[in-house]
């Protein structure tokens, strides 16, 4: 409940305050968001599994975002940014799907 509230607050803050992202970081925001989604859905699933831990959640979130952004950054420097983005998104997408499926099993018991 508090978590959902924090999420909604963040979204509202982002939409209303319109914080400007540095131009250099702008290309990595979408991939960072996908990585963050993976961590958040993982956390939600862990919560439903009854094994949620705040520390693990925070660390997995930060490391996910940083690793995803770094991989894409390195890819950009090497000239394979597009391909690496695709790879990262495929892997994260599979994880997100699996986690959401697990969450669905918990919520609907199906």
């Amino acid at each position: 409940m508090i978590a959902a509230f924090g999420l909604a607050l963040g979204v509202l803050a982002g939409l209303l305050m319109e914080p400007s992202i540095p131009e250099a970081l702008a290309p990595y925001l979408p991939i960072a968001v996908v990585a963050a989604m993976d961590a958040v859905f993982g956390g939600l699933r862990a919560h439903l599994d009854g094994v949620f831990d705040d520390k693990v959640f925070v660390i997995s979130f930060v490391s996910n975002v940083l690793i995803a952004a770094t991989i894409v950054y390195l890819g950009d420097q090497l000239g394979v940014g597009g391909q690496l983005s695709t790879g990262v998104i495929v892997v994260l997408g599979i994880r997100i799907f699996s986690n959401v499926a697990a969450i669905r099993r918990h919520v609907f018991h199906a």
Partner: protein
């Protein structure tokens, strides 16, 4: 990849596929950070929440996540008009290019039409030119301004040979005039006497003892060349008044008169190819 007998691949099925299956399986199955399980195993079930600091951290992480979602949604939203504008501009460019292309194709069609028209006009003009030049040639042949060559006859005439006791006949200018007129009647297209082309302006006169053609004196024998049908001209010539007259001359005065048909006679042009005094009257 080399296929060996028995369907075995060179590198073997295990070497190439096992790691891939492993990687995919890992991605598909281990979707949850194993740390959750590890920490859960370590955790003492008696202590409900060992670290409230991390609870705040997790909340702020969620806040940051929400912020990121909001910002990227906003960014995408803001970029949309730009992308749409670019797209519209591109569409405009494409349409402009297409209309330009259509214009140019139309122009091309018009130009090729014009080319076809000009070609047909050129062809017509060429035909006209050819007709004109044919006509000019015919007129030149008739007027004597163009040298000609072709089949014809050669008539050789000469004064009578001296036989001793009496002076024989001498060819006169009127005799030659009759002969030439006979040739014209017999269908000659061009006539020359001793390589002097006869035209409508050529005179055949007697000056002193010599016959002049176009004011140039000639000496016997006189060689008269004419183009025409070599098969019929000699006979037709003899049927004319000039031919009859010359047969009489030959019989009565002993002048020489010989007609030879030739497959090739060459008749030069009249050197005087322009009028000195007359000018064409312009039609008003």
């Amino acid at each position: 990849m080399t296929h060996l007998p028995g369907g075995l691949r060179e590198d073997g099925p295990d070497a190439s596929e096992a790691p891939h299956i492993g990687l995919l399986t890992q991605v598909m199955t281990q979707t949850l950070d194993q740390d959750y399980a590890a920490v859960a195993r370590r955790r003492d079930p008696q202590v409900p929440d060992p670290s409230p600091r991390w609870r705040i951290g997790a909340l702020s992480v969620l806040l940051v996540f929400g912020l990121m979602l909001g910002v990227s949604a906003l960014t995408t939203d803001q970029e949309q008009p730009l992308i749409a504008a670019e797209r519209a501009e591109l569409i405009e460019q494409i349409e402009a290019g297409q209309s330009k292309l259509a214009d140019q194709q139309q122009q091309l069609a018009a130009l090729s039409d014009e080319v076809a028209r000009m070609q047909s006009r050129l062809a017509a003009e060429l035909t006209d030119d050819r007709l004109l030049s044919n006509r000019l040639t015919a007129l030149g042949v008739a007027a004597g301004t163009i040298g000609v060559t072709g089949p014809g006859v050669v008539v050789t005439v000469d004064d009578a040979r001296y036989t001793g006791e009496e002076s024989g006949g001498v060819v006169l200018d009127t005799d030659l005039q009759l002969l030439v007129n006979g040739l014209w009647e017999a269908g000659a297209e061009a006539v020359s006497i001793d390589d002097h082309r006869l035209t409508s302006l050529t005179s055949i006169r007697l000056a002193g003892e010599a016959i002049t053609v176009d004011y140039r004196s000639l000496a016997p024998p006189y060689v008269i060349e004419a183009t025409g049908d070599p098969d019929t001209m000699p006979a037709r010539l003899l049927e004319t008044r000039g031919g009859q007259f010359w047969l009489d001359l030959k019989t009565n005065y002993g002048v020489q008169f010989e007609i030879v048909a030739k497959s090739q006679v060459s008749i030069p042009a009249d050197l005087r190819d322009h009028l000195l005094y007359a000018a064409p009257r312009r039609a008003t």
